[in-house]
Structures are given as C-alpha cells and as structure tokens.
Point group: C2
C-alpha cells in the first residue's frame, strides 16, 4: 500500500527542534505582548524557572534579540522578576502596504513598534508594474538609510490588493492595479538586493501577500482579535477580500489563494462582475456598488465615507443605498459565519464605516434566517488598526521567519552581514 503523506507533520521532533520551539515561543511572546516578566513567562509556558532563565539568556547574549531589565514598578512581596524586553531598535523589518492610490512603507521594530513611516502617492498613471517596483525600492532605500548603526533588517513584507501565490509572491490577478500574472515577489527581490546587502533576501526574498490576509494577521497579533483563534477579517478597499484565521492559523488553501470572499456569488440575478460571474459579493457591497446605489458615478471623487456621512445627515437616497448594501452585507457575512463559525467578523477598510452605521441592520437581517447556532457567539466588530492593519500584517509576515527560528536566523544573519 502506497502512502504519500500520512500527516501534516510527518517528521519526528528532535531535541534541537525542541529548543528552537521554546526559544521561538519566548521571543514571539515578548514580540506580541511587549516587555514581560520572566515569572510570567514561566507561568504561561509551564516551563521551569531555570529553563526560562536559560532561554532568555540565550536570546539575550547569543543574538541580542532581547534584553533583561529590572522592573520599574514593583508590586507584591518577593524578589522582583526581571523583565524581558524585545530589542526593538536592533531587529527591524520593512513593511509595505501597496494600495491603489499610494504606497505606505514603514520600519517596524521587534515588538511591533513603528519606527518610521513613509507614504508615496501613486498617481493613476504610475500603477505600472515596473514603476511600482521602482518606487517601492526607493522607499525602501530611504527607510534603510534611517536604520541605526546597530540595526539589522531581518525581513521585508508587502501587502497587495491582489491574488498572490503563497510560495513566491507571484501576483496572479490584481484588477485594481491592472496587473495580471506578474512576478512581483521576484522583481522586488531583485530591486531590493542592493538596497539590502547581506539581509535575509537571499534566503526568502521579499514576502508578498494579500492585503486582507495580512489584515487578519495583524488584527490577531495586535488588534481586536488578540486571543481569538477563529476570525474572519473583511477588507473593503474598492474590492472585497477576506482574511481568515481558523484554529489560530491563517487559512491559506492549496495555492495560497483562499479567502476570495469578494467573488462569492450571493445574487445570481445581480450585476456582472469583472471576474465574469454574476452577483459576486463585491459587486453588491464593494465601493462602486455603494457609490452607484447612492447615485454617484465611481471615480467622481465621492467616497463611501461621504455616503455614510450624508446618510447620517439624513439624506434619504444615501440611507436607501446603505440599506440596500447592508442587505447584501448580511447575506455574505451570514454565509461566512455559517462556513467558518468564527468568534469575530472584523470589518476593515471602508466596511468599517459601513458597520459603524449599519451594524444593527446587518445583525437583525442575519438573525432573520440561517442557522442561529453558528451566529449566537459571533461578534461584528470594526478593525482596531484602522487603515494600518495590512501594513502591520506585512510587518508580522516579515518577522515570521525570525520568530520561528530566532537563533538560527539571527546568527546566520550575523555571519552574512555583520
């Protein structure tokens, strides 16, 4: 009997991996939770005091990934515990959020602090592939120049409004940029090679991912979804996409294309979508749908926020439009809730504005039909990171390799570039 692959994790665990796992756990903890007492780490991990001490010392002295400080504020009896602090300045990543109208770049330190930002507007005629790659590279150079003398760039992540192949950042389809089948990850890797000599680029290149997927990641790491293992993040930026986390892990799918909720058909009698189908969710609740319903022509400068504002101001047409949209929002969200049974559905991008005004409508419409069971514990919430969720997600993506194998990555980096 042939047996291709019996189990996701086919390989046996060895002691070396045990250490790596525990180091990773520790570093990830302080990266996500910020400065943490050793005592807390001991309690949370279940590892022995002495082991935590050894692990922290390893992270601190071998790679300088963390430092140990005496706590300022003291509470309770007993010897005060050292605080393990991530070395924010020393280990950094570059994060980018490529949007239709701009490129946002940031230097993010270990622990998630944004150390500097840079926004480059993208004029409609500059969305050309090569132009975007070049602009990203020059932005990267400016960010890299601001790196301190001690600082190391341990990765580059970029969020794009595109269907992206997970393995290599190849952009399959990005209607809002007008791209199709473009080797974005590869091109960026080449363009950044001389900007970042001796960085991790040789290993893994620039990490490109879908903006909604990264939004979900960011909300789980630093937003409303902290501590939640099953969430759906909806990104409304012209199109609609979903980033889904189930069982604590991002849903990727076979090629990395999972979460294309925008092209879920909800209304077979609806408008034809760019993708060729009829009544995709995106055509019913996307930016253009909202504008059209409110009597505007997409591109005339009106935004979803404007519509929301005029609805709040009492405009009947705007109210009607949002009511219509919320009807379809409820259908789509209901479907997603039935399929994923999440704890949270996070409304990001322009959907955030819609939720603010229409939450009651959406909830009551969802309650009118469908399985109540999966809906009883779900909460619809606005994104906590606002417009920056994809950017933060890109940073998390870029940090992922370091967090997965702290000493391995840090030392190999030290060997390469000092």
């Amino acid at each position: 009997m042939r047996f291709p692959r019996p189990h996701p994790n086919i390989s046996g665990i060895k002691q070396e991996e045990l250490r790596r796992h525990n180091l990773s756990l520790l570093l990830r903890y302080v990266h996500l939770a910020g400065p943490t007492q050793r005592a807390t780490l001991t309690a949370q991990t279940g590892l022995n005091r002495s082991t935590i001490g050894a692990l922290a010392a390893d992270l601190a002295s071998t790679a300088g990934l963390v430092r140990e400080e005496s706590p300022e504020v003291r509470s309770g009896a007993g010897r005060p515990s050292f605080v393990v602090v991530p070395e924010t300045e020393r280990y950094q990543v570059l994060a980018f959020d490529l949007r239709v109208d701009r490129i946002v770049g940031a230097r993010v330190g270990l622990g998630g602090t944004v150390l500097s930002r840079d926004v480059v507007p993208l004029l409609p005629d500059c969305r050309d592939f090569d132009e975007v790659v070049k602009l990203t590279a020059t932005t990267a150079r400016r960010l890299v120049d601001a790196l301190g003398p001690q600082a190391r760039c341990v990765g580059v992540g970029i969020a794009t409004p595109a269907v992206v192949r997970g393995s290599d950042g190849f952009v399959r389809f990005a209607p809002n940029l007008g791209w199709e089948e473009r080797p974005f990850g590869e091109a960026l890797g080449v363009a950044l090679a001389d900007v970042l000599p001796g960085s991790m680029l040789d290993d893994a290149g620039v990490l490109v991912a879908n903006d909604a997927d990264l939004g979900a990641l960011a909300e789980q790491a630093r937003g409303v979804a902290r501590g939640h293992d099953d969430i759906v993040y909806l990104s409304g930026n012209v199109g609609v996409g979903a980033g889904i986390i189930c069982g604590g892990r991002p849903l990727r799918g076979h090629g990395g294309y999972a979460g294309e909720a925008g092209h879920m058909v909800v209304n077979p009698a609806g408008q034809r979508c760019r993708c060729g189908a009829r009544g995709c969710w995106e055509t019913e609740v996307g930016t253009d749908a909202v504008l059209r319903a409110a009597g505007h022509e997409p591109g005339d400068g009106t935004t979803v926020q404007d519509i929301v504002a005029s609805a709040q101001a009492g405009s009947p047409r705007a109210r009607w439009a949002l009511d219509e949209v919320s009807r379809w929002l409820a259908v789509g969200v209901g479907n997603l809730v039935n399929l994923f049974n999440p704890e949270l559905v996070i409304f990001g991008g322009e959907l955030r504005d819609l939720l603010a005004l229409m939450e009651h409508d959406i909830v009551s419409r969802m309650g009118a039909g469908g399985l109540t069971v999966s809906r009883e514990h779900v909460a619809l919430v606005p994104s906590a990171l606002g417009g920056d969720s994809a950017l933060f997600g890109a940073a998390e993506l870029a940090f992922a390799r370091l967090l997965d194998d702290p000493l391995g990555v840090a030392t190999s980096l030290a060997a390469m570039g000092g």
Copy 2:
C-alpha cells in the same frame, strides 16, 4: 499591557512531549499506512535507526499496540527490515453512523480494518431521541460481545446528521432527525457506561460529530484525499453539509459548527429553507430539490439515484431537473473553491451520483465565471469510501486520542480495566 493568548500553542514543549509526539507519529503512520518496514519509518520521519527501534519496541512491549514481524517478501540486498504491524485485533473502537433511516455500527481495529458490522433500521417513528440512544446502546452491546478476549475498546465515535457542539457532542440542531438541543453525547455516555466498563468513556465520553466533518476526516485518512491538506468534502444526505480540511487540519470553528455549507445563501430569490432564510444551497441542490425539480414529491419513495438513472435513460424531465440542480451546484462549489482554494472537492452521499452524470456541466459552469486562479488546480471527485465515509470517520475520531498519546492512553486503560 494585558495579553490573553499570544499563540495557539502557548505551552512550552518538554522532553516527555517530544517522546509522546514521536510515538504518536509512528503509531499514526502504521494505523494509516498499514504494516510498514522500520527502514521506511526511519526514512520518513528523519529519526535515527536506533530511535525508531526504541520507539517501536516501546509501542510493542509496553502496550502491545504494534508487533514486529519479519517481512515475507524480500527484495534487494541487505538485511531485511522488520515490519511494524498495528495490533488490529487488540485495539479496537466502536464506530457508528447515525442516519435518518438506520444506524450502522462497526467494530474497527487499529489500522482501520472493519472487524464486524451491524445495521439497525430506523423506522420513521423510532427517531425519537431516547429510542435512538437505546438502539445505539444495544447495538454497542452486540459489538462489544464480539470483542475477543485480548481486545480492548479504546473509544467510541458516532457520526450524526446534525449540528453538533464540538466540546461535548451536544446536538444543537438535527432537522432530519427532528432533534433540537439534545445532549446526545452525554446520553450516549450514560447509556454505554455499563456496556463498556473500564473503557475510555470516563475520560472523554462518546465522541459525537457531524457526519460531513467525519466524512472529510475519513477521506483524508483512507480515501481519495490521502496526502492532500486542503479539501472540501460535500455530504449530500437529504441535507447538504461540508466537512472542510485546511492545512491538514479539520476546520472546526469556534463552537465546532464550521462547514454549514448547506445554509449558504446562493439564490436570494429562491425557496424558503427550514432555517428561515431564502435560497439556501440545500434548498437548491438537496435531495428534495432534485426530486421536486424532476416532478416527484419528496417521500414518494423516489431517490436521487432514480432520477439520475432516468436521466441516463433519456428522460427529458429528469435531464432538465439535473441540469437545473447542476447550475446551483456549480454556484455553491464555486463559492467554496473561492473561499477555501482546495485541491479536491469530494462529492459524497447522493451528490456522488450527481457528480457522476453532471461533472462536465458543473465544471464548465464554474469556468464561466469567478476567479480562474483558485479553480485551476481543483479537482471534483467522488467519495472513495462511498456510503461508509462517515462511519470510517467516526472510527478515526474514536482512535484520535489513542493516536495522540499512545502509551498514556494504553497504560491508563490497562490500569483501569485489565
């Protein structure tokens, strides 16, 4: 800064868990792949020869979970490798598939062999909750009586056409059985307590799960989805449900209710569904929809297979009906493919018959719209286990605890019941 849960796996790994993991890996391998040479295990796991030897010896002598045999057929030079064989007779589970019209029970041995089966018809007036619990218990008793003297029952799993709470097998909603909010897992635990003295029931009770979820599990373990990490299994038995596996792991959702694809709204202008919504997928492609489209009244004895047969025989009405159904099938499957980007969509239950005849229609309709990207590598395939997938899945569910911690479970069982 408060920090509820930083990471799915917050706990540190200790050496004990390392051993447990590797033992689990080995046992799971032979359980799924059947008798395997030690040399193969060495190669697959990456562990050292001596380690594999020690692990196998541990599984064999400490708990009798496997035995080591000399291989019969010899090929190639060198000393022949021992074959690690799962102790099928010694470790068994009870698996049940509760359906609308019958209860199927089976004794399944380690390695997945069905050792005996028992089918109890369920008359329409016997679907009463207490009746079903009692019938299951008597079936269980018959199966237990057939256990050999050496045999140990290490778990009980049951598949139900219901929305089931993951934690305790509480049935929230089972329209086809006419149940709502019933403590099925608990009741079965009580009913089976004296049938299975000294079994694992005290620990975890009877494991109840949704039939589609278990179908997916079974197809991944022993069916067409072997070696695939991203699959959608569709179960068509009166209603429509989906069992979804992503990244190699079953999609559970927060309460364990994920995968309710039958109540995904695909046609807002469609019929009203039992759940209260309009145009649920189930109302368009479920058994009743097929029958009605073909001009039959549900309950008149006609089956989906009959319709498929008459369509094959040339009946225009049947052809038209299936054409209509396949249109909605394509919409729903397209949505699922967009959301999950699976490698396989497995058609189980009555959908199997539909796929056999309508595959071309479904595929071409899916191709007409929607994102091509996520569809380019997906295959629509019939279930390989046919009507038994849920039953096999129930067995896998029941074995899960043993496979996760072989020695722990086996020894605690030995301590309890000899």
